[in-house]
């Protein structure tokens, strides 16, 4: 599975050219086309008592976005890449879905703003709604101020967390498509406390051995393609352990799957993928499962 076209969704305060620049290494993996999308939320130009529809504000916001996109596009055009841009007054998720329909990207890049509790709430729900409504992998960038990851090294040391769900195979195909880009990948599986039949050390080691063997098979598959890979087993709460692993191995991003089942459960419990995407300090690449026919 190759990444030929990416959709870069920006509000400018969350994602800027440095984030885009860190993705350009994907050119080694087939990336040749970038589509920019800036959605001006309706409430910024909506009817105001005594002022009516803020047409001048709309023109100003559109032109400001246009100037940024022209500047970015010039850099990409000069590299021989194809570039498109959309600037729309609309609502974020429906507009993203419209552009997906027109452009069929292979990857969506979106930021997560962290300026205030309300905005955080909305941004979080944007990401999870997008995960629910599309089958396209989503890379969630973190707000620049909180991001401790060196953006240029985004694909240097990713951590892939697998729970052996049906999205696993798709995640592997996606990683294989990035073989010229990834430095070293760490594949981890977290065994939930509840999955251990008994807490004695023999039992824990038995489970670890079994899971490690499965992980090593994935590593072998990747190393056959020239991707350096290492496996790790963790025990405990998946969200905490994935975050811990990312810190231990100084991950450049976390790669997670998201299944339909998880999307349904999320309404009740909050899925691991969504929680990590919303709360982790690491950029997260979420790979949804294939649509069932």
């Amino acid at each position: 599975m190759e990444i030929k076209k990416l959709l870069f969704v920006t509000k400018f305060e969350d994602l800027c050219y440095d984030a885009l620049n860190s993705l350009l290494i994907l050119r080694k993996a087939a990336l040749g086309h970038v589509v920019f999308l800036n959605v001006i939320e309706r409430d910024k130009v909506a009817m105001k008592r005594g002022a009516g529809y803020l047409k001048e504000e709309e023109v100003k916001l559109k032109e400001t976005a246009n100037i940024r996109f022209i500047d970015w596009a010039e850099n990409l055009f000069e590299m021989g890449m194809e570039v498109g841009a959309y600037i729309e007054v609309s609502t974020l998720i429906p507009e993203i879905l419209k552009v997906i329909e027109k452009e069929a990207p292979d990857l969506i890049v979106i930021g997560r703003s962290h300026k205030g509790a309300l905005e955080q709430l909305y941004s979080g729900s944007d990401v999870s709604e997008l995960v629910r409504r599309t089958r396209i992998p989503i890379l969630v960038f973190k707000h620049m101020a909180e991001n401790k990851i060196v953006p240029e090294k985004l694909f240097e040391r990713p951590i892939l967390a697998t729970n052996w769900s049906e999205t696993g195979a798709r995640m592997m195909e996606y990683i294989k498509g990035m073989k010229n880009v990834i430095g070293e990948i760490h594949i981890i599986h977290v065994v939930k406390d509840s999955a251990l039949k008994s807490p004695d050390s023999h039992e824990v080691q038995k489970v670890r051995k079994k899971e490690r063997k499965k992980l090593d098979a994935l590593c072998d598959e990747l190393e056959d393609l020239g991707i350096k890979a290492r496996s790790h087993v963790y025990v405990g709460d998946p969200q905490k352990e994935i975050e811990k692993a990312a810190k231990e191995y100084q991950a450049s991003m976390i790669i997670l799957g998201s299944s339909d089942k998880a999307a349904i459960l999320e309404r009740w419990t909050g899925s691991i993928s969504k929680n990590i995407a919303d709360n982790s300090i690491f950029p997260c690449l979420i790979i949804p499962g294939q649509k069932e026919n």
Binding site: N66, A73, F77, M79, E82, V99
Partner: protein, 130 residues
Amino acid sequence: MSKKVLVVDDDPDVRSFVVTVLEENQYIPLIAQDGVEGLEKIEKEKPDLVILDVLMPRGSGIRLYHHLKSHEQFKALPIIMFTGIALRSFLKSQKVLDEFQGAEVPKPDIYLEKPVDPEVLAAAVRKKLG
């Protein structure tokens, strides 16, 4: 008989500006919103001139220009570039495409950077079509 001019631009305000200039100068305007639709209209409507933007969704003017100038059936079609993208970047991008596709295309003879006055645009069209 009036000549047909195809305006390829994703911005409705720009399209409306160019269409007004063309109508006032007795040309027949045709419109397309992106590079893909632009190529379809060129093949179907056979315009006498194309006014082409660069940064558009679904196919940029960079690719469309290179495609038209490197294919025999479109080579002679006059094109006015009308865009916010700097000429320098446009030329560099064409050079990269030349190397990649192995076909060297000529520079555009009229490259207008937005915004331009209506008289400048009208004069450019007249220069190409008479």
